[in-house]
Amino acid sequence: TDWAIALHGGAGTLSREAMTPEREAEYTASLQAALDAGAAILAEGGTAEDAIVAVITILEDDPLFNAGRGAVLTWDGGISHDASIMLGDSRAAGATAGTSTVRHPILLAQEVMRDGRHVFLSGAGAEEFADRTELERMEPEWFITQPRVEALERYRANSTASLADDEHRYG
């Protein structure tokens, strides 16, 4: 095999019964588009690095997936993205955590890798590093989607309820 690529968009409790045919078609189309973009780069002799970055940036922009736009929200309803990248020939690597303005977190991780002084930056420091790059920055509203707002409300309601139970449990 000359070239190969694999992608994922997250794993969890997924059942055909719980997913409408339309929803399944949406996810399938998104996965196919991202896969074909990566495969096209490799088929033309492009690098593995370019291929995975192409796939991940497409999925980061797709609100169906938990990354970039449409990622899940923090307890406070905020944005906190994490990403990492690694190359097999040099074992160069870059990672960022807790960023909230960079449209494509995987590109920030790539910038950290290319800078080469560090591997892992987080929070305000990672944002400050991003200020020195040309990477696109977005307002929170761009990242936040209604389904994720509702998911957070359900999560907080459940968490609060279970806390209350805890109190009882301790008598």
Binding site: G10, G38, L42, I56, A71, A83, S84, A97
Partner: protein, 135 residues
Amino acid sequence: TVGAVARDRHGNLAAGTSTGGMTGKRWDRIGDAPIIGAGTYADNRACAVSATGTGEYFIRANVASSICNLMRLTGMGPREAADNLMAEVAELGGSGGVIVVSPQGEAAFSFNTSGMYRGRANSEGLNEVAIFAEE
């Protein structure tokens, strides 16, 4: 979480992962996605891995680099090595999945949930996407 792994015509491997983490996370919680060796790893001698799932368990089991070490040190294929680590994650109480590509260009999945959004393609004409475990 989203991720991709690839082997190109020059024989180089690469892995990447990106995520929003878990709903309602507090205290600036970080899972496995940005941690090299847990959620992402690539080594031309062995493999490229990207993981998704309950990050705390993927960190504890050091999943991504362990899959590579199994493949490099024992000659195990990507699916078997990935299944080994996913069994360990399950034993610890975690769940999720991994995608792996080998230096020979084998692309494999392994996951212990009812579904994983996934896809793979290669120069032999393989091109497939799937969602549910039974696909």
